[in-house]
Amino acid sequence: MIFEPIDIEISKLSCERDDRLLFKNLSMTLNPGQILRVAGPNGAGKTTLLRTIAGLFDIQTGTIRMNQLPLKECLEQILYIGHKPQVTKDLTVLDNLKFLTGSDDDHLKRALSDVGLKGYHDSLVKELSQGQGRRCALARLWCVKAPIWILDEPYTALDVEMVKTLDTRITWHSAAGGICLFTTHQPPQSLKYTTLELDHVT
C-alpha cells in the first residue's frame, strides 16, 4: 500500500510549560517517507512536542499544517502511541484493538501474530506481561492505515527481537510514503532516521 503524499509543516512553534521555555521558534517540514527521531535530555520537551504535533496539546504560538490544512482537521491521519498503556486491562487483546482500529478479526489476528502475540487474542490484557501489553498496543501499527505515526518511547519494555520487528515495520511504513516521529533513549541500530536535538533548537 502506498500513501497519498502528505507533509507536515511546522513553523515558529514555541512552547512554555510550568514557566520553562521548552522550545522556541521551531520550524521544520516533514516530507513523505521521513523518519524523525526527537532527541534530548529528560525534560527537554520531547513528549510535549510529540503531543503538540498530535493535536493533544494546544499550540501556544506558531502553526502546524498538514498538506496545507490546519492540524485540527487532519487528526484521523495520525496514529499516536504515548507513554500510557493505551489498552484497557479488563478487556481482551482483540476487543481492545477492535475498538481502537475498527479492523476485522482476521486482520487483527494477523497483526497479533506479527507482533508475537499469536494465540493471545482471547487473553485479558491484565493477564499479559508488561512487554506483551506493549506489543499489544504496538500491534495497531500493523492494522491502522494512518500515514503519520507519532510514537513516544515505542521501544520501552521490548526485547531485542521485537525491537527489530518494529524497526522493519517503521522502515516499510516510510517506504510506503508514511511519516514517523519517535523518541527513544536507545537509538535503534537497524533504522535510518534523521535526528532533531531539542536542546539546540533555541
Binding site: T48, D58, E76, H83, T88, K89, D90, F99
Partner: protein, 224 residues
C-alpha cells in the same frame, strides 16, 4: 462495524468484566433505605409519607457515587486521548459513553427502587410516579455528574469534589421531582411537571456533552 457500535460493545464488555461497579450502587441504595427506619421509627405511616422522597435522594446519591469515576480509568490508561483520533466529534463520543453509562449503571439502579419502596411501604401509585420521575430525570443527572467527573479528571486528590461541585445544579431537578411525588400522593395531575423534567433532560443531554468534551480535552492537554 461502525464506531458507535464498537463503542457500545466495548462498554458492554467492560461492564460484564466489572460487575461490581453495577452492584455497588444498588447495595448502597438498599443500605441507605434500610438505615432510615432504624434511625427514625418502624412506624409505617411515617415511612410511607417520606419514603418516596428518601428513595429519590438515596438514588441520587448512589448515582453520583457511581458516576464520579466515569472517565477515570480510560483517562489513566490513555484510551481517552485516543478518542481524539477517532474521526468523530468528542462531544458525540462523550454522549455515547453517557448513554452507555445510563443503560448499564443507572437503569439497573432505578429497577431496584420498587424493592426499596416496598421496604418503606410507599403506596403503589406513588411508586409508579417515583419510577417514572427517575427514568425521566436521571439522564440530566447523569450528564451533570459526568461533567463533574470530567472537570476533576486531572487532579489526583479530588476525592468527591466532582460531586460537590455539581450538586447545586441538581436543585431544579430535585424540586421538580419532589413536585411530581407530592402531586402523585394527592392524586393530582403530574403530567405537566413530568413534561418539564423531560425537557430538562433533553436539553441537558444535548448541551452538557459539549461542556464535558471541553473538560476532557482540557485534562488531556494538561497531563504528561
Amino acid at each position: 462495524m461502525s464506531l458507535e457500535r464498537r463503542m457500545l460493545t466495548r462498554e458492554l464488555k467492560l461492564n460484564v468484566a466489572r460487575p461490581g461497579e453495577i452492584f455497588k450502587p444498588m447495595w448502597f441504595l438498599i443500605l441507605v433505605v434500610s438505615m432510615l427506619p432504624l434511625a427514625l421509627a418502624p412506624d409505617s405511616d411515617l415511612l410511607s409519607e417520606i419514603g418516596s422522597a428518601m428513595i429519590w435522594v438515596a438514588t441520587l446519591l448512589a448515582l453520583l457515587l457511581n458516576t464520579e469515576h466515569l472517565f477515570q480509568s480510560d483517562f489513566s490508561d490513555g484510551v481517552l486521548e485516543q478518542w481524539l483520533f477517532l474521526n468523530r466529534p468528542l462531544a458525540w463520543l462523550v454522549g455515547l459513553k453517557l448513554i452507555a453509562h445510563w443503560l448499564f449503571h443507572v437503569l439497573p439502579l432505578i429497577l431496584i427502587t420498587p424493592i426499596a419502596g416496598i421496604m418503606l411501604s410507599v403506596p403503589t401509585d406513588v411508586l409508579w410516579a417515583l419510577l417514572v420521575t427517575l427514568v425521566i430525570a436521571t439522564p440530566a443527572l447523569t450528564c451533570f455528574s459526568g461533567l463533574g467527573a470530567a472537570l476533576t479528571l486531572g487532579s489526583s486528590r479530588s476525592g468527591i469534589l466532582g460531586v460537590l461541585v455539581m450538586m447545586p445544579l441538581f436543585v431544579p431537578i430535585v424540586i421538580l421531582a419532589a413536585g411530581v411525588l407530592i402531586r402523585a400522593m394527592d392524586g393530582s395531575d403530574t403530567l405537566p411537571l413530568l413534561a418539564l423534567l423531560g425537557a430538562f433532560s433533553v436539553v441537558a443531554a444535548t448541551v452538557v456533552p459539549i461542556a464535558v468534551s471541553a473538560a476532557i480535552r482540557l485534562n488531556i492537554g494538561g497531563s504528561n
